[in-house]
Every structure is written in structure tokens, then in C-alpha cells.
Subunit: 227 residues, 2 copies
DNA sequence: GCCTCACTGTGAATAGAATCACAGTTGCAG
DNA sequence: CTGCAACTGTGATTCTATTCACAGTGAGGC
């Protein structure tokens, strides 16, 4: 093997780590890293140092390096990080390097907005199918995606190879819905319904409570006003 | 003052604290606490202990007590917490005991879903007005709310006494938009656009990145699969 | 080929959040 | 009125995340 090839391998191929513990907070920053890497790649940047990279993402360089180090070693000491290479690696780590099918539950106002959103495809997610309890909606096609009745869940989900689910239904029966979805083989649920869901066995649940965000902001704005 | 009255005051009136430091994580749990208190109140529960309360919210009793203690003392040692009283106090702490006006920027699919959502009013927020750059949308009324051109921002926001803003526009010019909004007197921004915003001076920014949530879930589901 | 410079990856130190554990209180039973 | 049982609020502790700081390294200049 020539020195060039060897050197290239050393500097280009990230040493991924089949590692132990990765903090949840690190995971949350990962998508921000990937987004910045994508922009840099579009701008034709080949290498970037932790200092500038961190500046673009809005974290400290130390934190960036620490986060990355929990997945392996990526950086070339003098040149910094290879933008393209590392973007690919991030996608691989997050499992978004190939498109995954997602199912939507609840084709209301929010559900339809999600269905017509293009951004998910760019990030490796495809809402392949929708479900609703409303008989007026079942059988119809929304933004190209068919809406099924909840009863068809167990047969339809495997058919579309659905790995993740988004809940935009109603608070009533939310836990039961989550349990059914998990039982049908879904291992990750994104929940928009403002009600607590106890994660079913073997299934991750992530909540997005928009009102809660507003409340947090309200508190902060208020608190500052009184200081 | 009779003993009864004195006892009642001691047990019912929360001792609020004009306190020092409140952790951000505590603030985020506050809305969950309030939601549960509301449900309990609807169910006619008068008092509840930290143990059961924590169970309903999904935190440990110790954490609940610690969180509450950073705002003052609420609990009656033997009877627990007064559900109604504490619900009111939570609202007051978060500044949601009276309705606040919110402005929406970007009347696209997501913006319209937010406009027709009833849940915000229940939580003390009222989207009073909308803005868009699209001339087809300016002047129209969406779910009862008028859509203005961005240029009218400086005059319209004070008119509606807007305290907070929601951004559901596009990535282009996002920072400039945030800066303008903040300059018009808004101190808190909820941003749905997947692009980093540097908080303008004196303004809090909270981001909700739905794709990032999916990416996090994808990572978790993947990671578990390989364990 | 060697030297220099500035960068990464990571132990050590610090800051911060969650949990433990209990002193002190209070409602209530008798 | 007294004693008991059980709860809160909080100091002390543990656990986790972030930042510091530097040894070791590689690219590029000469
Ligand atoms: N619209 C928003 O902007 C917004 C904002 C924050 C939170 N949310 C939450 O997101 C959820 C959806 O909001 P929305 O405005 O689209 O509500 P919506 O009432 O317009 O739509 C809900 C849809 O879910 C369906 N549904 C009800 N139970 C179901 C079940 N068990 N399985 C499948 N489908 C079911 C209904 O038939 C309806 O079509 C609500 O829980 C709401 O609180 C919405
Ligand atoms: N729709 C979704 O489900 C979804 C999900 C996640 C994130 N988002 C993000 O939310 C934002 C809105 O999504 P959408 O689907 O409604 O997009 P959209 O393209 O349907 O609507 C965007 C609206 O914002 C307006 N706009 C653009 N620039 C503006 C500005 N500077 N000031 C005011 N208005 C402006 C446009 O005219 C348009 O009406 C996007 O940035 C998108 O990435 C949307």
C-alpha cells in the first residue's frame, strides 16, 4: 500500500467507535451539527476547524470536540474536520443515511401541515401513510398519502415498512394509541398531543408541546421584566 | 384574628419567593405540573401529595418538591398541595394568568394550523395578528386573524399589544426578521424555522425543530437495535 | 528532512442537576 | 391535650454535563 493511500485512509476515514454511553444532550446537538455541515458543503467548504464550526452551531469548541469524540475520531489535527465525510458520518450515526418510512396518526390541521411539509424528505424521513378515526377522512388521499382506519394498523404498518410514528391526534385514548402503535412494531414515537405518554416497552417517545414552549418563553420574558 | 382564619392563611396562601436562580429545566417542567393540576382540579381533587403528583407528571417526588421550593413554599405538611391554589400560582409564575397577545410570522401550512388551534387560548395565549411577505396573503383574514405586510410591523404590533412572536416563515432572512421583531418590542420568540437564530439583545428565542426530534428518535431506535 | 505552529482528543477540574435522607412540622385519632 | 404517623422543605451527596488546559501530533514552510 502506497504512503499516499495510507495517509488518505488515515486522514479521510473516520475512526468510528462502537461505543458505550452517548449523552442525550449530545444526540440533540447532532442534528444541528449536521445541518451546519450541509450548509458548509453546499458552500464548497472542504475542511473546518472546531472553533469556526462551533461558532456556526452556537456551542463552545470544547463541547463540539467532546460530542464528536464520543463517536470516534474525525478530525485531522492540522486541517480540521472534513465537511463532506463528517456529514455522511453524522447521517450514518443518526440512521438517516437512507430514507425511513413514518406513519402519521391524526389527519387534522397539524397532521395535514406535516403531510405537506417537504423538509422531512431532505432529512431522510418519508411520511408514507396516515391513519385517522374520522370516517370522513378514511379512504381519502392527503398530499399523496392514503388515510387508513385505525383498525387496519396491524396489517398496513408492516406493508409500508414503517419504523417511526408521529401522533397528531387527540388526548383521548392517547396511551392506548401509543401502545397499539408500539405493538405493531414501531420503536419510536414523536408525540404532538399535550398529554403524558408512558413509553411502551421497547419504544422511545419524544414529546413536542408547543404550548409548553410558549409558557417557558412567557416565564422568561416575565422574569426578566421584574429584574 | 381567629385561630381558624390564621390557620387558613397559613395553609392556603402560598409563600412566594422573589427568588434568585431558577433552573431552565425546572421551568420546562412547570407547564407539565400545571397541566396535571388542571386535570386534578377538573376531577375535583382538592389536595395531593408529592408522591402521587410526581407519579402523574412522570418525575420523582424529590424533584417535584425541589422544583416547587425554588418558587416558595406551597405544601401543607400533612395534607399535601392545594390543587387549585397551586394551579393559580403556577399560572402567575409563568405569566399566563391573563391572556397575552402573540403575533405569527408566516401564514403557510404550519402557520395556518397554528392559527386554527384552540389549545393556545386555554393556556393564556392569543394569536392576535399575522404577517406575511406574500402579497396574495396580505390583507386576507385567516381564522379570524388579519394578515399584514411585514412593513406594517412597527405600527401594528404595539396596536395589538403583542408580547411574543411565533416564526413560521422561511430560512431566508430569518435573523433579520427576528431582529426586526425584537426591535418592535417583542421579548420572546418561538421559532419553527430550522435555522439558527442568534437571540437579539433582550429577547429570548426558543427553537422547535421537528426534523431534529425525528433525527433524535431515529438515533435512539437505531442505537437500541444494535445493542 | 526538520522545525514550527496551531489543532485535536481527552484527562482533570468545575459547574450544575437529580437524588437521598432526615429534621421539623402538622393534622388527626384517641 | 398528647402522641403518632407521615409529609414537606432542604442540607448533603451523588451523578452528569461542560469547560479548562495541555500533551501529542500532523501539515506545511523552508
Ligand atoms: N394545530 C396546532 O397548531 C397544534 C399545536 C399544538 C398542539 N397540537 C396538538 O396536536 C394534535 C392535533 O392537532 P390538530 O389541530 O390537527 O387537531 P384536529 O382536531 O384538527 O385533528 C385531530 C385529528 O385526529 C383524529 N384522531 C382523533 N383521535 C384519533 C386516534 N385515536 N387515532 C387517529 N386519529 C385520531 C381526529 O379525527 C382528527 O382528524 C392535538 O392533540 C393538538 O392538541 C396542535
Ligand atoms: N409545515 C410543517 O409541517 C413544518 C414542519 C417543520 C418545520 N417547518 C418549518 O416551518 C416553516 C413554515 O413551514 P410551512 O410549511 O408553513 O412553509 P410554507 O412555505 O407553507 O409557508 C411559509 C410562509 O412564510 C411566508 N414568509 C416567508 N418569508 C417570510 C418573512 N420574512 N416574513 C413573513 N412571512 C414570510 C411565506 O410567504 C409563506 O406564506 C418553514 O421554515 C418550515 O421549515 C414546517
Amino acid at each position: 500500500m502506497s504512503d499516499q493511500v495510507e495517509a488518505a485512509m488515515r486522514s479521510e476515514a473516520p475512526q468510528m467507535r462502537a461505543d458505550k454511553h452517548v449523552s442525550l444532550q449530545t444526540v440533540e446537538r447532532l442534528s444541528a451539527y449536521r445541518r451546519v455541515l450541509e450548509e458548509l458543503d453546499r458552500d464548497g467548504v472542504e475542511y473546518i476547524h472546531s472553533q469556526q464550526f462551533a461558532g456556526l452551531v452556537g456551542v463552545t469548541p470544547a463541547q463540539l470536540r467532546r460530542d464528536l469524540s464520543s463517536f470516534g475520531t474525525f478530525g485531522n489535527i492540522s486541517r480540521g474536520y472534513n465537511v463532506y465525510q463528517m456529514g455522511r458520518t453524522m447521517s450514518r450515526i443518526m440512521g438517516t443515511d437512507s430514507t425511513q418510512s413514518v406513519a402519521l396518526f391524526g389527519v387534522g390541521d397539524l397532521g395535514r401541515a406535516l403531510l405537506s411539509y417537504r423538509g422531512f424528505e431532505e432529512r431522510g424521513f418519508h411520511i408514507a401513510v396516515a391513519f385517522d378515526v374520522d370516517q370522513d377522512k378514511v379512504g381519502r388521499v392527503f398530499a399523496g398519502r392514503r388515510c387508513y382506519a385505525l383498525e387496519e394498523l396491524a396489517t398496513v404498518l408492516p406493508e409500508y415498512e414503517v419504523r417511526m410514528a408521529v401522533l397528531a391526534s387527540r388526548p383521548e385514548g392517547l396511551q392506548a394509541l401509543a401502545d397499539r402503535v408500539a405493538a405493531a412494531g414501531v420503536h419510536a414515537i414523536l408525540n404532538f398531543v399535550p398529554k403524558r405518554v408512558t413509553p411502551p416497552e421497547g419504544c422511545f417517545v419524544e414529546n413536542t408541546d408547543i404550548s409548553a414552549k410558549l409558557e417557558k418563553l412567557s416565564f422568561l420574558a416575565h422574569a426578566q421584566a421584574t429584574v
